[in-house]
Symmetry: C2
Subunit: 197 residues, 2 copies
DNA sequence: GTCTATACTCTGATAGAC
DNA sequence: GTCTATCAGAGTATAGAC
C-alpha cells in the first residue's frame, strides 16, 4: 500500500503483464517475457509474485474488487426492481471501465479461474450471486436463460474487439438497453455517469 | 477415414482428450495425462497428432464442420428474414448438439483459436460471417450489439453448467425465444427437430 | 528488501530403435 | 504403432550478493 521503489516495480510488472496478456494471452505469456520486458530476471519476478497464478489474480484484482462491491451493494437493496436496475447499471459501467480486462477475462480461462478463486472470499463463485439477482427468487426456466444471456452477452459484447471502436457513452446506452430488454426492466434514461461506481 | 486398429486408438484418444479438456481445461491437460489415461506413452500420442494444437482442432472439428455448413447454407438464402431464421435455428440446434464442446469452446482460448484457424478455409474467422448475417447489411450500432449479445449469449448460456440439467427440447425453445427477441424476429412455433441439421 | 545465479521438475516436441 | 532417449523451454524454488 505504501509507495516506494518496490511498489514501483510491482506496479510496472502488473501493467506489463496486462499488456502482454492482452497481446499473447495468459498462456502465451511466459514469466521470461515479462522479465525481459522489464529488464529484470525471471527470479526477480518470482520475488514479487510466488506463482504465475498470483500475477493473473493481481492483474484481475481491480475488476474483481469492483464487481464484488457491486454485488454487495445490489444485494443490500430491498426492492427487487431497484436491485436489478442497480446491478445492471453497475455491471455495464464495470464492463466499460475495465474493457481491457473484460476482453481478457472473456476469452481466457486463466483469468476466469483466477477471478472465481480470489473473489467473494469464499467457495462460491459470485457469478452465482449475479445470476441470482438477475433471475430473481424462484425463477422459471425463461428467467434463468434470460439472466444468463444478459450477463454473458453484456460481458462478451463489451469486451469484444468488434465494439472496441465505440465510445464509452454509446456502448453504455446500448448495453443498458439490451440488458433491460432481456431482464424485463422498463427502458429509461439514466443520469448515472460512468465514473459514479 | 478407414476403420481399423489405428483409427481406434485415434478415436479413443480424441474421446479421452475431450473428457480431460472438459475436466481440466485445455491448458490444464498435458499430453502425459492423455497418454496415461490411454495406457500409452507421450511419444505414442505424437504418432497420431504432430502437435497438441492438432488434438484440440480434431476435438473441435465436428462442431466446426457443422457451423461451417450452417453458415454456408444461411448465406445461400436470398431473403434476409429467411437467412436470419435459418441461421438462428441452426445455431441453437448446433449449440445443443455439441453442448460439451460449446462449454469448452466458450471458456477456453485454446479451443477458440483452434476453431478460428481451422474453419472457413481462410484467413477470416467465421464469427464475422455469423455476425454479418445476424446484424444485417449496413447495421447501426444497436443492431450490431444485439447480434453480438445474441450470438455470444446463446453460446455461453447453452454451454453453461447452469443449464446443463435442462432437456434439449426445453433449452432449444428458450434459446430460440431469446434469440428471436434480440434479433427482432417474430416468435413462432417451429417444427424443425433438433436432429434435422 | 531487492535482485541474480543456479538448478530442479515437468511440459511439448523430435529422433531413432523395435 | 509404440517405445526409449533426449531436447529446449516452461514454471517453480532456493541460496546468496548487495
Amino acid at each position: 500500500m505504501t509507495a516506494g521503489p518496490a511498489e514501483d516495480t510491482r506496479t510496472r510488472l502488473l501493467q506489463t503483464a496486462l499488456r502482454l496478456f492482452t497481446e499473447h494471452g495468459v498462456e502465451g505469456t511466459s514469466l521470461q517475457m515479462i522479465a525481459d520486458a522489464l529488464g529484470i530476471t525471471k527470479a526477480a519476478v518470482y520475488y514479487h509474485f510466488k506463482t504465475k497464478a498470483e500475477i493473473t489474480e493481481a492483474v484481475a484484482e481491480p475488476g474483481v474488487r469492483d464487481l464484488d462491491d457491486l454485488v454487495r451493494r445490489a444485494a443490500a437493496q430491498k426492492r427487487r426492481g431497484v436491485q436489478v436496475d442497480l446491478l445492471l447499471e453497475g455491471f455495464v459501467d464495470l464492463v466499460i471501465r475495465h474493457r481491457a480486462l473484460v476482453a481478457l477475462f472473456s476469452s481466457d480461462p486463466g483469468i476466469a479461474r483466477a477471478i472465481e478463486k480470489s473473489a467473494h472470499g469464499g467457495t462460491e463463485g459470485f457469478g452465482q450471486a449475479l445470476l441470482g439477482i438477475f433471475s430473481g427468487p424462484d425463477p422459471d426456466t425463461t428467467a434463468r436463460v434470460n439472466a444468463l444471456v444478459a450477463l454473458t452477452g453484456i460481458a462478451m459484447a463489451g469486451g469484444s474487439p468488434e465494439l472496441a471502436g465505440l465510445g464509452d457513452e454509446e456502448l453504455r446506452t446500448e448495453l443498458l438497453d439490451v440488458g433491460r430488454r432481456l431482464l424485463g426492466r422498463p427502458r429509461r434514461r439514466t443520469l448515472t455517469p460512468v465514473s459514479s461506481l
